[in-house]
């Protein structure tokens, strides 16, 4: 080696090259790594984070858990009997019947009632007003009245407050029937819930179909239609009639929802259908017939003048139609040849309202000395009585099926029995809680399916609010506190609806994915390909480093 100094020098210079080459390759690899780190490790997550759709964390598990929680209406029933043993027997019998109930959990309490209280009462009305009758909302008192046949032929009499009076010989089966069918109306509730949960499988019953959907406020609009003011003159004080007849009833319902009463007069709005003329026959006067199937066609042209441009509340419409003499009397026919039952010339359109046809009196029409326009007086008690009956159905107080030997006290002026109000509370609580639960669940399902929906803080808050209100409502129902549960359910319903219908949800919904890619691809594709390709070089370099180290170790 020493004899060839020149060659060693040569080797050195040659040997220099790989050293330098290695260093420079290292730098290049470092550069490639830094590209990778900046673009992929930092850049990609940063891009992802900054373009993310804003969404407040939501209580998904609690929403899912709502499905499992069962709505149970806890109700306290007090059985007041003269003989405490009989009371206990009744309680255990009734308890057995109600064990199978899915919705109701009934607590029976037995008390003994002093004979003198009953004896001193002259009538059921007196008992109604006595101190016994005060009950908390939702509770029921079954009161044994030994001398009930004195007052009524029925065995069981349901009062205007929360008391059921029964004669001593009443069986527990009969009492169960009264509780189930009249006071609790469990089947209606069941049908309502199942039709909300699975609308395709089950249908509402008649009462449910008529009832207005739940809302925090309703408008009640009374419209008087005078199609021909040249022939008929109506000088009616509508406002006073509303104040006298409808307002007391609606004041009763105030805890359930707000009712705004409005009224208007419409002129020159004719029936769009042609009533059939029934000519004079022996025993039948000449009149006009309107078939029941045609009634929906009357509503449609009216609708144009009934809408409100400011109110968002559902509206209950009540229309009085006064036909001119030339088209009266006008009667609604249920079917060929059968005039509507009860002689009430009115009909109810479910979830919409009612229409009454008020025929001008025959003597005024026939009297040619009365010049046109002929003045027609209003029969307010008939018109408003019909409207009240229709309003009860629309608000959700159903017509109850008869039970033999069971009756109820007639309605007071207020138009509502307390236990009817309670059952209305139950319906509304169930409806609102179920609706809130379903709304929340479909919202959380939507959020899972569509990633573009924004949930801002406000919507997030109302969702939280709705979830806790549903939970609170269920809890309050377990405690048997009907009024507080109603407030909670109302809160839940309103918050859930507000969250679901908030316009901010849709802010980004119509920003389609393909447009996003159209914007990103021109940038991402040409940049990412070389960076990703350089990964191979980095790998090879790293592998060679490891091998090199291994070799050194072996050496």
């Amino acid at each position: 080696m020493s004899s060839h100094p020149s060659t060693t020098e040569e080797i050195k210079t040659v040997g220099d090259l790989p050293v330098e080459k290695i260093d420079k390759t290292d730098y290049r690899i470092y550069a490639a790594i830094s590209y990778f780190v900046i673009l992929i490790v930092i850049g990609l997550p940063l891009w992802w984070k900054t373009t993310e759709v804003y969404r407040v964390p939501l209580p998904y598990t609690r929403i899912a858990a709502l499905n499992e929680s069962d709505f149970v209406l806890v109700t306290n029933v007090t059985i007041a009997s003269l003989d405490i043993d009989r009371g206990k027997q009744l309680a255990s019998d009734l308890d057995n019947f109600f064990k199978t109930s899915k919705l109701f959990k009934v607590h029976f309490v037995v008390t003994q009632v002093q004979k003198q209280i009953l004896a001193s009462a002259q009538s059921i009305q007196a008992l109604e007003l006595s101190s016994v009758s005060r009950r908390q909302a939702g509770d029921i008192l079954l009161l044994e009245v030994p001398g009930l046949p004195r007052f009524t032929p029925s065995q069981v009499l349901v009062g205007r407050r929360r008391i059921v009076y029964f004669a001593t010989d009443t069986s527990s089966v009969k009492l169960t029937e009264v509780l189930q069918q009249w006071l609790f109306q469990e089947e209606t509730l069941q049908r309502m819930i199942s039709s909300m949960v699975s609308p395709t499988k089950s249908e509402l019953d008649l009462a449910g179909r008529r009832r207005m959907p739940t809302a925090s406020a309703y408008d009640v609009m009374v419209t008087i239609v005078n199609p021909d003011p040249e022939k008929v003159q109506l000088n009616w004080d509508l406002q006073e009639a509303i104040e006298n007849f409808l307002s007391p009833f609606l004041r009763n319902l105030a805890p359930l929802a707000d009712y705004n009463v409005k009224s208007q007069w419409l002129y020159f709005v004719p029936l769009q259908v042609q009533p059939k003329l029934v000519p004079e026959q022996p025993g039948i006067r000449k009149h006009f017939a309107l078939s029941e199937e045609l009634l929906p066609h009357i509503i449609t042209p009216l609708e144009k003048k009934l809408a409100s441009h400011v109110s968002q509340n559902p509206c209950l419409n009540f229309v009085v139609y006064v036909p001119p003499c030339s088209e009266s009397p006008l009667y609604i026919y249920r079917q060929e040849g059968v005039i509507l039952r009860g002689g009430v010339n009115a009909f109810l359109s479910p979830r919409w309202g009612g229409i009454i046809i008020h025929n001008p009196p025959q003597d005024i029409c026939d009297n040619t000395t009365v010049v046109e326009p002929k003045p027609v007086e209003a029969d307010w008690s008939k018109i408003m009585g019909t409207f009240l009956a229709q309003l009860r159905l629309l608000v959700g107080v159903p017509e109850l099926d008869d039970i033999p030997r069971v009756s109820m006290l007639p309605l007071a002026a207020s138009g509502m029995r307390q236990w009817e109000l309670d059952s209305l509370y139950r319906v509304r609580i169930m409806e609102q809680l179920t609706s809130a639960m379903l709304t929340l669940q479909s919202l959380s399902q939507l959020l899972g399916e569509i990633s573009n929906i924004v949930i801002d803080d406000e919507v997030g808050d109302s969702i939280q609010e709705a979830v806790s209100a549903v939970e609170r409502g269920i809890e309050l129902l377990h405690q048997g506190n009907l009024l507080a549960a109603f407030e909670a359910s109302k809160q839940a319903f309103l918050s859930a609806e507000a969250a679901f219908t908030d316009p901010s949800l849709l802010a980004l919904l119509y920003f389609p994915d393909d447009q996003k890619y159209a914007v990103y691809i021109p940038l991402f594709l040409p940049v990412m390909i070389p960076v990703l390709m350089s990964l191979k070089n980095i790998y090879l370099w790293a592998a060679s480093k490891v091998r090199h180290k291994g070799k050194e170790k072996v050496d």
Binding site: K24, Y267, V527, P530
Partner: protein
Amino acid sequence: MVCFILVPFWILNVGQCLVQKDRFDEELLLKPLPSGHVYAYFQFTTVWDAPSGPQMFQHCHLFPRALGEVAGRHNVQELHVTLTEGLWRYEYWGFPVSDAAPGAELWTWFRNDTKDVDNIWKKLTGALSGLLCASLNFIGTPNSLSPEYSFRPTGVVKNSNLNSSFVRYATLPREIVCTENLTPWKKLLPCDSKKGFASLLNAGHIHNTNYHSLGLHIRPVCKDAKCTEVSIELRQTVSLVYDMMILGFQNQDWSLRKLFGLGLSGPCPLATSSFIYVDVTSNETGTPYQLQPEPTEVITSIRGGYESKFKVYNIQKMSFTHMLNIVATYSTPKVYAVNVPPVLYASRYIVGYGQERGGIVTKIHNNHWKHLDIIYLENIPWFLPIYLHTLRVVAGGKEITPILKKYVPGKERSRPYSLEVLLRIPARSVTEIYIEFDYVFLKWQEYPPDANHGFYIGSAIISAYLPVGKNYMGLPQAGPTIYSSFNASREGFLLQLRTESLIITLPTPDFSMPYNVICLACTVVALAFGPLHNITTKRLCMKDGNSCNGLLIRLKSMLFKGRKPQAQAH
């Protein structure tokens, strides 16, 4: 302190003692204009002694409930909406009964106890937009003014201490008025369009006019002479100007049937009064015309020193065996006299060139022999910043100093420029008001559809108190009906003129630009990034031919790998 500043003088006939506390009057005024056009003005007035309080508009009889609900919900004290197509030509036509700016115009006084006026204003315009099928919902704070002097309440006010923060004024000059506005407007009438004068309003014969304007005016008025209680007055108006020559008739004769397509079948049975007035003043000076049938009455009205004559048809007293058709026939061909313009009129135009700076010039003509005090209200949208220091008022070569200036500078996207100038314009002069503005760039989403069409600037409003009643047809403040304007001489007559609305072209971008920019920028970045990446991570070096195994060679070798052993086997 509560005081009423207005006292009514009209109580035409005390209506029958009814439960319903409202009355409805329908009127039609027909007037041949000096230019040969025919002016038809319908007015339907409902006055209602509404109960005050929150339940005010809940129980309606003749008053339209839909409108009452809107007014009641939004705490409205006074509401004036007009929807107009065309321009009223003051110079040739004189003054209309009720003035309106082209497009949609809305002004409202809210009650003094209203909180958050801006918000309620927005809601009100939304509700009215639904009610009248007009784009009034585009009115909001960014295009609304609160003028201090130009818009005072026209009705009763409980407190004479007025605060202009409760008034809002806005126009939509681009609004096109058509049948979809007329139909809901007619629905607000008690007789709808089934009976009475409203049956004459047929879309086909309204929209072929030179000028048509629908109006809705709500205001509180005094219930009686003592004015201790307040009633609500709703005035629904239609102004139409027909040009008989372009309608295809060979002469100047006109009739109800020619104007409206059909005759009148009778009054609205709900109306307390139904009158048709035909202005025959021009018969005295110009070419006379005869009316068929004969009127029930002739009224001579002297107002502000000027006499006018009206032939009156009391429709309720006429018997209707067939449709009523009022026909006006000229015995000789009409001769047009030299136009005598009214006391005050104005015109407006844009000056400047290019798309940087411009100016607005308003010329106000005063033909009166005495100076006139006027209030000039300029309503400029926020995207045209005006410069107050460039405001120049020149009359006959001499600069005039305004008596008072009230300027509210605009704010981008939140407030328009509002300028009110109180001026004393000299007698028999033309006053020129000039102000400069800048054109600005908008954000690309702020351009309306068809941005190249241009942007509208609403009319300027000139308010004046005329000392003479020449050409003046406006209603007196206390009276709602045309009837009440007969012989109603006052010290002065409040007149408001609307000028032309203007159209300007703002610099308009190419709207596909953002996407193009994105694509171009991305491509440039990608193009720059590729070589940079290559330079920094790769090195160009020579490779010897043997070790050169590119993709092609490797593929080849893979293909021929299988064959070689076979060949050897043979």
